[in-house]
């Protein structure tokens, strides 16, 4: 073996520690500052005197209790629906010989890329009880009076939320199944286990942690989502916790109550994360390490096409129908009338790109924020993931906790926290893109960190140790050994954050100003004034940008490689 890092001794001084401490300090400011301000506001009155009155109001006023209950129902049912739908699709795509598996993966990615608020608007076009296109079709076919669907209802909202939350479960389940060693199933089969026994005794238990984690993420997503409820719940005549919190910002803003209303969500999240640890804590299945054979795909035989039809039918809801509705509305003079060659118009497109004065600014801001958040976020997550998996500094646990903590904070609440933190010295950032950058960074950090931590966990520290024994500094071994191995994970994380920024509405809605408007806020504003056609045009533009950027990034030769990365960290 030859030592390739012959120039190593020149940098004997290891700068790693100071650099890492700097990162840690940044993380603490990033996360602790807004959360502390939230807590201060939750437990004080207007004059900042300590009080519990905010919580008394919260738990005695039915106008707060109802949304709390509604949110619990939405989060639970959405999580269950997501698991029921995502687990079989994940299994079919990962472990069977169903045709079109890559297409199904791409379509799930498409539904992940679709911002939930855009999906909600699209479903308004499709299933508003009277004007919705599906209901029009139903009435036309059956002559019925009553609508088939009413999207302005609790079930309608749960349906739309599930449509855009199930990809989270899918990714986790599919990844777990992709990485599962085939030998274990083979062993079961060799020992005489029938297909069902193998599934029950081996496959399902191995996939269960991923499914539980997925259910949890779906629950949290549904609980903290703002866009879909804001668009569908108000016309339906009810509030969820997030829309209720948003309504507390109406003039005069009741920030103390808003902060207090966030506390139950925060506690519930922490409780759930602990519960997950308790349930799965001692059941860690070490399936990575060494070379395993690829799992054998299950032969579906005659069921292959039925399985594909099932997947496509499910994907009708988050992808085909909504995209069709948006395209139709973009070219139609009347948003919910089926466009024909003779009625097709470019008016909406002309309006959005030449007359609407906020379009250019919002597009520019969104792309700038998307790219910079993704870049900074990936670096940050990479460092934290490295520190926690390799236990570089003493307080690595704290760092890991800090990186995960924002998951417990609904975006809208984080928005308030950031607003409270950065409208006063020493950091006056409100009114600039910086505050949005911080918000998007904080919101996307947990998933980015989880993703990269998982990626790190698959790389044995021995490789880095070997490099360091051979004289490289920590940073050198990171750059030369770890980075190339992480390439796919890094690209995936970058895309993940970029998409997260495009999807993000709840914090942006609190933090934007006229000069720092982003596309999601513009779309939300347009929805409030009922400009559905303009939303459709902007929404399609947004999707095109997202797909283009994700594709382009996957083509960038990075760390000496140009291989494509999918939205998974395998």
């Amino acid at each position: 073996m030859t030592i390739t890092t012959t120039d190593a001794p020149k940098s004997r001084i290891d700068l790693t520690r100071p650099v890492l401490w700097l990162f840690a300090a940044f993380m603490i400011v990033l996360i602790v500052l807004p959360l502390s301000w939230l807590m201060v506001y939750a437990f004080t009155d207007k004059a900042r005197h300590p009080t519990l009155q905010n919580f008394v109001t919260l738990f005695t006023d039915p106008s707060f209790l109802d949304p709390l209950l509604t949110t619990a129902i939405i989060a639970t049912t959405s999580a269950v629906i997501c698991c029921i739908v995502a687990a079989p699709i994940g299994w079919l795509v990962s472990r069977t010989d169903m045709p079109g598996r890559q297409i199904i993966r791409a379509l799930v990615t498409a539904s992940f890329v679709t911002p939930p608020f855009l999906g909600a608007v699209a479903w308004e076009l499709l299933a508003a009880p009277n004007s919705g296109m599906l209901n029009q079709l139903y009435r036309y076919l059956t002559g019925a009076e009553d609508p088939l669907f009413d999207i302005y209802s609790l079930t309608g909202l749960i349906f739309v939320i599930s449509c855009y939350t199930f990809p989270f479960v899918f990714v986790l389940v599919a990844n777990a199944l992709d990485n599962m060693p085939g030998e274990l199933e083979d062993a079961s089969a060799i020992l005489g286990g029938k297909a069902w026994t193998t599934a029950r005794r081996v496959t399902i238990p191995l996939a269960l942690p991923a499914l539980v984690a997925g259910a949890l993420i779906a629950f949290l997503q549904a609980m903290t989502l703002f866009g879909s409820p804001a668009i569908l719940a108000l016309p339906a005549g009810f509030h969820t916790m997030t829309t209720k919190i948003w309504s507390l910002f109406q003039y005069p803003p009741k920030l103390e109550l808003a902060a207090a209303a966030a506390v139950p969500l925060l506690l519930l999240t922490i409780l759930l994360l602990q519960g997950q640890k308790f349930l799965l804590g001692r059941r860690g299945f070490s399936v990575v390490g060494g070379k395993y054979g690829a799992p054998r795909p299950v032969e579906m035989k005659g069921w292959r096409w039925a399985a594909l039809a099932f997947c496509l039918f499910v994907l009708l809801n988050p992808v085909f129908l909504p995209y069709f509705a948006l395209l139709n509305a973009a070219f139609s003079p009347n948003a919910t009338t089926l466009v024909t060659p003779s009625t097709a118009t470019l008016h909406n497109i002309v309006f959005v790109f030449t007359e609407l004065s906020s379009t250019q600014l919002a597009l520019k801001n969104t792309v700038i924020l998307g790219a910079s958040t993704a870049t900074i976020g990936t670096i940050l997550a990479l460092v934290v993931a490295y520190v926690t998996t390799r236990r570089v500094i003493a307080s690595h646990r704290l760092l890991g906790f800090l990186a995960t903590a924002p998951v417990a904070v609904p975006g809208i609440v984080l928005g308030v926290g950031l607003f409270l933190s950065y409208t006063r010295p020493p950091f006056v950032l409100y009114g600039t893109l910086w505050i949005l950058l911080l918000a998007f960074l904080t919101i996307n950090l947990p998933s980015a960190y989880q993703q990269l931590q998982a990626a790190f966990a698959t790389i044995h520290p021995e490789l880095e140790d070997a490099s360091r024994i051979l004289g490289a500094t920590r940073l050198q071994s990171l750059r030369q050994i770890t980075a190339p191995l992480l390439r796919t994970g890094v690209i995936a994380t970058w895309c993940f954050i970029f998409i997260g920024v495009m999807r993000e509405l709840s914090a942006a809605i609190v933090l934007f100003t006229s000069q720092t408007k982003v596309l999601s806020v513009l779309i939300y504003d347009l929805n409030e004034s009922g400009d559905l056609a303009a939303i459709s045009v902007l929404g399609i533009a947004m999707l095109v940008i997202t797909f283009a950027v994700v594709l382009a990034v996957n083509r960038i030769p990075m760390f000496g490689g140009g291989a494509g990365a999918r939205l998974r960290n395998s």
Partner: protein, 355 residues
Amino acid sequence: MKGRKLSRRDILQGSAALAVGTVFASPVRAQAPEPVAITSALVEAAKKEGKLIFYSSMDLPVGEKLGKAFEAAFPGVSIQIERSGSERLFQRIDQEFASNIRAADIVNSSDASHFISWKKNGWLMPFVPEDVAKHFPDSYRDPDGMFATSRLWLSSIAYNTNLVKPEDAPKSFADLLDQKWAGKMVKGHPAYSGTIMTATFQLVRELGWEYMEKLAKQRVMQVQSSTDPPKKLSLGERAVMADGNEYGIVLLKEAGQPVEPVYPTEGTPTISGPTGIFKTAQHPNAAKLFQAWLHTRETQQFFSDFTAQYSVHAQVQSKPGRRKISDIKLMKEDAEGVEKMTEEIKTRYARLFRV
């Protein structure tokens, strides 16, 4: 007092004079500045700034059209329109000013009471365009020259002609409480829209909270902006609009959509939208130019023709074929009353309608 039939003269001189004039007059009456005409010096100064940020609650296609007309009139000055509900804009401006962000140059609100607060805060810049001094009734301009009413419009009832026969259509607000309209109506939200805030105030004053209580039991579809109900109506999403911009209905009807306005027998809530410049404007000359241009006879005529709203400019004629505002029974405006009741309206409304 219940709404009574008012002539145009009455509106211009009587009711609103009480409402706007007495309220906006500050105890110590400062002298309004000298009226300003559009001079080449002003145009040049505006072009040097090159940009204008206009906060407004006007329906977007209408507002952007106005903006494009301004840009066409003065090439070199671009306008960015920040559209949102007036109540939201009010909150945002408050939030931005509190954080020392002075993004807004000029503002048009659909809740005239907002100007009471802004004037009280000392945020407005006195500026009187020549046309305002010459052709605007006293009741529609601030005595200290801080703002002038750029537009007048109504929040009416309306119905979708495909879904409702004219003889079955509601004639009054009282008709909306009929069981047959349960689940078939759409309305805007007073915590978002200044138009709906103003209209709700007038309805509560004339018909009492009982009206709102009964309306809330009708399972009304709740949207935010007063610009949205006309659109939901024309899509056929709901058969009847309980409140919302009458001008939206008129424009949609003229564009061939199946909608028809109804001017309720109790009177139609009336909203005036003043425009004023912020003292802290980053583009003060562009803002002055816009304010002067917006209130000229030409712009007011173009605006009322194009947007189906009404102008208080003495020389503006209503477009042939359109209903004259003097033929409509109106409810009285009372900006000061709105300011006093804003909180109560928001709270009680949220309790009744549960959103």
